[in-house]
């Protein structure tokens, strides 16, 4: 290809020799592209950290834990065990199962009057290992697994349970497997993943439960007024890459215009307007590509800190496109201007 006499490769060479020349004003644009590219990812990473910590706090407080129980304790509901366990088949529900308070018991290591909670392995997966789960608030032995001694004699293999969210009521209890012959209980708990919308899922879950006896009610263990997921999805910060791309493109265009008398050197030497336009476009493209490359590199480095790395990368690519477009718009007239007017433009 030979745009107006120039060979395409030599136009690219011109762009490189101008941009990568440390004495050139345009070289500042390279630093700007790298700085804004990293900034376009660093800001969402900081936002993501705040979002994650807020989410973890609310999850620990019982966010997205749905408790199904009796409307009237005088007429308790009986929720079918299999239907409660199978709520995990619903997307966004990693854990569910019946819970039933089996009574109070005395243990040598834990003291008297400890709550004993019967539940299923679909809600407490560690129960599959044939151990009892001792709530971390009961100050159990430091060892991860130990022999729990009941005051009246029996010995049990036990494991310290992880800190569970409020709503499961297991941190101050010993969780034991629900006896196989128990087919129903008055309480079923579903743990939704952090990104599910509990209010949307609730009717779906309710419809899957088989009940008998009294009426069933569903409630959320915690119902915060501000949902961090909704806030995160609507955050203004998601447009930061586009905004930085726009600012970078405008800066590129303005700096290019400020050296339009230098640009005139090409036109004065016989470079045609199409070739001059191509030269400018290649320069803008190279700077925008550097913005995209530095932001993608930042996404790779900061991927662990980003809530949505792919989304951040796509935003940065859109930001780079915005950069290119803005720079082109600001400088669109330069290649077409009268050579003498361009030369005198300082």
């Amino acid at each position: 290809m030979s745009p107006g006499g120039w060979r395409l490769g030599y136009l690219a060479r011109e762009v490189n020799r101008t941009l990568f020349n440390p004495r050139s004003r345009s070289s500042a644009l390279l630093f700007l592209a790298v700085a804004l590219g990293v900034g376009a990812v660093a800001l969402p990473a900081v936002e993501s950290q705040g979002f994650r910590s807020q989410l973890a706090e609310q999850q620990a407080a019982g966010r997205n834990i749905v408790v199904f129980g009796s409307r009237d304790t005088q007429h308790p509901v009986a929720i079918d065990r299999a239907s409660c366990d199978s709520l995990t088949a619903v997307p966004g529900v990693p854990r569910s199962g019946l819970t039933e308070l089996e009574g109070m018991d005395d243990f040598v290591q834990l003291g008297p009057n400890v709550s004993v909670l019967g539940s299923t392995s679909s809600l407490f997966p560690d129960l599959r290992d044939g151990v009892l789960l001792v709530g971390s608030a009961l100050h159990p032995p430091v060892a991860a697994e130990f022999t729990l001694v009941a005051a009246n004699g029996p010995l049990y293999r036990a494991r310290v349970n992880r800190v569970e969210p409020t709503g499961l009521n297991s941190n101050s209890a010993v969780v034991v497997p629900l006896a196989p012959d128990i087919r129903s209980a008055s309480s079923c708990i579903a743990v939704l993943d952090a990104y599910s919308n509990a209010n949307q899922l609730l009717p779906v879950l309710r419809a899957r439960l088989h009940t008998s006896g009294g009426d069933m009610v569903a409630s959320l263990a915690s119902n915060p007024t501000i949902d961090p997921v909704t806030v995160f999805l609507n955050r203004p910060g998601q447009y930061v890459a586009l905004l930085l791309g726009l600012l970078g493109g405008l800066a590129t265009g303005m700096i290019t215009r400020s050296r339009s008398s230098e640009f005139a050197a090409y036109r004065m030497s016989g470079t045609t307007p199409p070739a001059a336009a191509l030269l400018l476009a290649m320069q803008h493209l190279q700077i925008a590509a550097l913005f995209a490359a530095s932001s993608c590199a930042a996404v790779i480095v900061l991927r662990g800190a980003l809530a949505a790395p792919l989304s951040a990368a796509l935003s940065c690519l859109a930001g780079a496109a915005t950069w290119l477009l803005a720079a082109l718009v600001v400088t669109v007239d330069l290649p077409l201007r009268n050579v003498l007017a361009l030369a005198k433009d300082r």
Binding site: S2, G4, G5, W6, R7, Y10, R13, E14, R17, T18, N21, R23, S24, R25, S261, E262, A264, A265, Y266, R267, M268, S269, G270, T271, T272, A275, N338, V339, L340, A343, K344
Partner: protein, 200 residues
């Protein structure tokens, strides 16, 4: 030729032969730069025609900007780039290969006496040196026409003398028109076209 209500040229006729250095002289505002723009096809006359005869037998064609290389008033150069790089863009714009353009650029720099400045950044050159680099760039472009718009406007006498010497070299190579106030450059020209304002 008119700008708004102002008539710049009225009944103007002139011809500029090839391989001739013509000096356009006249006071500021007499239309020297405007005439160069017309001749280069950068501006269109309100009435009348500008014709370029590429050989003696043809009927002439409208002027084409791509046939003209310019030497500006002041310095339109890539300041951070070397003098050689600045001359190279003229040769590369003519479609030459890099090696060929390199040889052409160095040859033209030799011709105007700036070959020893090839690796010096344009922003580090004196005004006179830079103007000679701009002439070398125009020559390297291979364009058959060179227009120079007051090239000595910001030069001292010594630099202008050097520029006049360059003119002597150029004047038999192609069509060169220089708009100037400077007597030294006028003396280098084979022809002079005098322009005046209505007041003068």
């Amino acid at each position: 030729m008119r700008f708004g209500r102002r008539t710049v040229f009225d009944g103007f006729t002139a011809s500029f032969p090839d391989r001739t250095l013509t000096a356009l002289v006249g006071p500021s505002g007499s239309g020297k730069t405007t005439l160069l723009s017309l001749l280069a096809g950068q501006a269109q006359p309100f009435a009348g025609t500008v014709r370029l005869h590429l050989d003696e037998s043809d009927a002439g064609v409208p002027p084409e900007p791509s046939l003209v290389a310019w030497v500006p008033q002041g310095s339109n150069a890539l300041g951070a780039r070397s003098a050689l790089d600045n001359v190279l863009i003229g040769a590369l714009a003519a479609g030459r290969s890099l090696a060929d353009a390199h040889a052409t650029a160095l040859g033209e720099m030799e011709r105007v006496g700036v070959a020893d400045l090839a690796e010096v950044a344009a922003k580090d050159l004196s005004g006179g040196e830079l103007q000679r680099v701009c002439f070398a760039r125009a020559l390297a472009s291979g364009r058959p026409i060179i227009f120079a718009d007051e090239p000595s406007a910001s030069l001292d006498e010594a630099s202008t003398r050097q520029l006049a010497a360059v003119m002597e070299v150029l004047r038999s190579t192609r069509l060169v028109i220089v708009a100037t106030h400077d007597p030294l450059l006028m003396h280098s020209a084979q022809r002079t076209v005098s322009m005046r304002t209505e007041a003068s």
